[in-house]
């Protein structure tokens, strides 16, 4: 698939970013989680394409791992949270949706500018796509800053993580396996921890609106 390599890679990487932007667009938390799952699959696809192109077994394993964790396990966990919290919509984000989308595009531009230096080191079909990863990170961070729901914050966190993973694949075809495993495990655990916390908070304080958490202040 030598000829198809580049376009497929572009397609998959593009999909990652599109999912990220869509999460900003949609308000229904369920839909957001779905977007996250799709993004996980796309990410796995990128890894797979690179693996097949570079004949890299380790990367293939990573791809499978990513598909498992980010495509199914994590979204599954999140769905459980959502199910436990009926009618949870991102009612009023701190920055409304159109503004968010405009801002997101600005972030994407910024990420292109930033990653120029990185691409310059080794221009290749893969590294050209680094801006997409950076953009995903920034969009995720933006989501963290602007979304009120606990779940959508978790999603934002995961967007950041996926973005970084994408950069990793594109630049260095994955970090050493031990680190990769550790990172994946950490992500998983963080999600678990956060999920448990959400449950606790809901039992204790009776809300998943993060604005209610304003007890601790100077």
């Amino acid at each position: 698939m030598g000829t198809a390599y580049a376009p497929v890679l572009d397609l998959a990487a593009g999909a990652v970013l599109v999912c990220a932007v869509l999460t900003l667009w949609r308000r229904d938390v369920r839909a957001i989680v779905t977007m996250l799952a799709l993004q996980g699959v796309a990410l796995a696809a990128v890894a797979g394409v690179l693996a097949s192109h570079q004949r890299d077994a380790g990367l293939a394993v990573t791809a499978a791992l990513v598909l498992a964790v980010k495509g199914f396990v994590v979204p599954g966990l999140l769905r459980r949270v959502v199910r436990a919290d009926p009618g949870s919509r991102e009612t009023a984000p701190l920055v409304n949706v159109p503004a968010s989308l405009v801002f997101a595009s600005a972030l994407i531009v910024l990420s292109y500018v930033v990653s120029a230096k990185v691409i310059a080191v080794s221009p290749s079909a893969a590294s050209r796509l680094v801006p997409i990863g950076i953009a995903t990170v920034l969009v995720g961070y933006f989501m963290l800053v602007t979304r009120r729901r606990a779940v959508s914050q978790i999603v934002g966190l995961l967007l950041v993580d996926n973005g970084i993973a994408l950069v990793t694949f594109l630049l260095t075809a994955g970090v050493p396996l031990i680190v990769e495993l550790g990172a994946a495990l950490d992500v998983l655990l963080v999600v678990v921890v956060l999920q448990v916390l959400v449950v606790h908070i809901r039992d204790q304080i009776g809300t998943s609106e993060l604005d209610q958490l304003r007890e601790l202040r100077d």
Binding site: V121, S124, V137, Y141, T172, I178, A183, Q204, I205, E215
Partner: protein
């Protein structure tokens, strides 16, 4: 052998704690484990002070003077924290703040936490270092929310989210370093596990691509800086420190922050090789001054004595950053001395403030007064701790702060020294103001004696802090040896 032990001891202690339901004995067992870690750390320092590095586990573990020193710090603070654990758990169970089940969970997580920090400082691979630091976040989440109160849950949520996103940036930075290293290594895009190892990174550091390294260093400082508690990523710190049980606050403020700073020191050495000192120095100066300003500003009208201590941690991390900015061997040695002194002092303060909280039932400064008259021992320890924290002789922080200032002036950063001295003066005033409210004044009731088992370790710790502040032997040798690892 020693380094295996250093990792195994706390881990096994954790397994033991998990195996059996909570009992005060568990606390003492944890203390013994921490004591062993301290002893191992001292042994490691002694054997690495010559400049040699011990490697183990096929090079996955690498102990040089710097790591060994950090092991000492972790051991010392963990010992102090563990010594209070059984008492804290006992009265929390007694007052049904917590349950034996949660106490057991606490003990296990405590050990996991310590193990992760040890892993972070012993790891040869900077990627693994990242994994370990991120793991500490996970381990401490439920320690912060141990009390299951609204406030503690809120604190732990903020803690996890802020730190995870921050540390994620650090991972991105690490990846970029890795990328630069691969392309500096000469062997194309073929990566192998050892590329992120400290030794191999240092070997190629001068060939790393400046553009990438600049971006990477910025991300690393932002990322690990979040964990260190440097402004403007410090916001989680006062919440988490004020809500966690006292021993955990001690561990977090005393070592967790500085373990993350240890990571920054390592990466700074790499970046210095690639970029020269100018860029990292600029970054460190910015965050350092920022932290000092934030701490000074928010301490003036502080109303909660635990948050007061937390902000002082922000201040001291800022001082560390400025010391790192100077970057000379003297500076780094002073930074390490500061790490040790701050670890001991701050844990003493958090532990005694926990006692005060337990005794007075509030953490509001306005509601606590004339402790020296009413609880002489406790108030005395807290007061002396404050003196040490404010960098007054004969305590270690005086020596470290003085030498950091010296090094900064040598590095041409005298205006930085001017600004930081100004902030320190304001902070002194703020602390004096709050200390007057907390400590001074006339006691209404007759003095209440705190249990000797609580006070004695804290007094010993403060004495040790004073001793290392006055006597150079043998610490100075270790400090310079450790400083040489990351400073030319």
């Amino acid at each position: 052998m020693l380094c295996y032990a250093a990792l195994a001891v706390p881990f096994l202690a954790g397994v033991l704690a998990a195996a059996r339901p909570w009992h005060p004995r568990t606390g003492w067992m944890m203390a013994v484990a921490a004591g062993l870690v301290l002893a191992l750390g001292i042994a490691l320092s002694a054997s690495t002070a010559g400049g040699v590095a011990i490697t183990a586990l096929h090079g996955a573990i690498r102990v040089d003077a710097l790591s060994a020193f950090m092991v000492v710090v972790i051991g010392a603070v963990a010992l102090l924290a563990a010594l209070q654990t059984s008492r804290v758990m006992s009265y929390e169970i007694a007052s049904s703040v917590t349950t034996p089940r949660l106490a057991r969970q606490y003990a296990v997580l405590f050990q996991v936490f310590v193990t992760c920090m040890l892993a972070a400082v012993l790891a040869a691979n900077l990627g693994v270092l990242w994994v370990a630091v991120e793991a500490t976040t996970i381990a401490t989440t439920f320690l912060v929310s141990h009390r299951r109160t609204d406030r503690s849950l809120e604190a732990s949520w903020k803690y996890v989210v802020l730190c995870s996103v921050g540390i994620a940036l650090a991972f991105l930075g690490t990846v970029l370093v890795y990328f630069a290293a691969i392309h500096a290594g000469g062997h194309g895009a073929h990566h192998h596990a050892a590329t992120l190892d400290w030794t191999s990174l240092m070997a190629v550091s001068h060939r790393l691509d400046p553009g990438v390294m600049r971006l990477a260093m910025a991300l690393l400082i932002l990322g690990y800086g979040t964990k260190v508690g440097l402004a403007p990523m410090h916001s989680w710190l006062p919440d988490a420190h004020s809500q966690a049980p006292a021993p955990i606050s001690a561990l977090m403020s005393g070592v967790l922050l500085t373990v993350a700073f240890y990571a920054l020191l390592r990466f700074k050495a790499v970046a210095d090789g690639a970029l020269g000192p100018a860029f990292p120095r600029a970054m460190f100066v910015v965050v350092g001054i920022g932290s000092l300003l934030v701490a000074a500003s928010l301490l003036i009208a502080q109303r909660d004595y635990k948050r007061m201590l937390a902000y002082s941690s922000v201040e001291h991390m800022g001082l560390l950053a400025l010391g790192a900015a100077a970057g000379s061997t003297l500076a780094i040695a002073a930074v390490l001395l500061h790490i040790l002194g701050h670890g001991i002092t701050k844990s003493v303060l958090f532990l005694s403030s926990g006692e005060i909280d337990h005794a007075e039932g509030t953490t509001e400064i306005a509601k606590v007064t004339s402790l020296l008259a009413r609880r002489p021992a406790l108030g005395g320890v807290f007061g002396v701790g404050l003196l040490s924290l404010l960098g007054l002789p004969p305590f270690a922080l005086f020596a470290s702060e003085f030498n950091m200032a010296r090094a900064e002036v040598d590095a041409g950063l005298w205006w930085v020294v001017a600004v930081s001295l100004g902030c320190l003066a304001v902070i002194f005033g703020a602390f004096a103001l709050h200390a007057r409210q907390l400590l001074l004044g006339d006691g209404v009731a007759d003095p209440v004696a705190a249990p000797r088992s609580v006070i004695a370790p804290l007094v010993v710790a403060l004495a040790a802090c004073a001793a290392i502040g006055v006597v150079a032997w043998p610490l100075q040798h270790l400090l310079t040896a450790a400083a040489h690892v990351v400073a030319p």
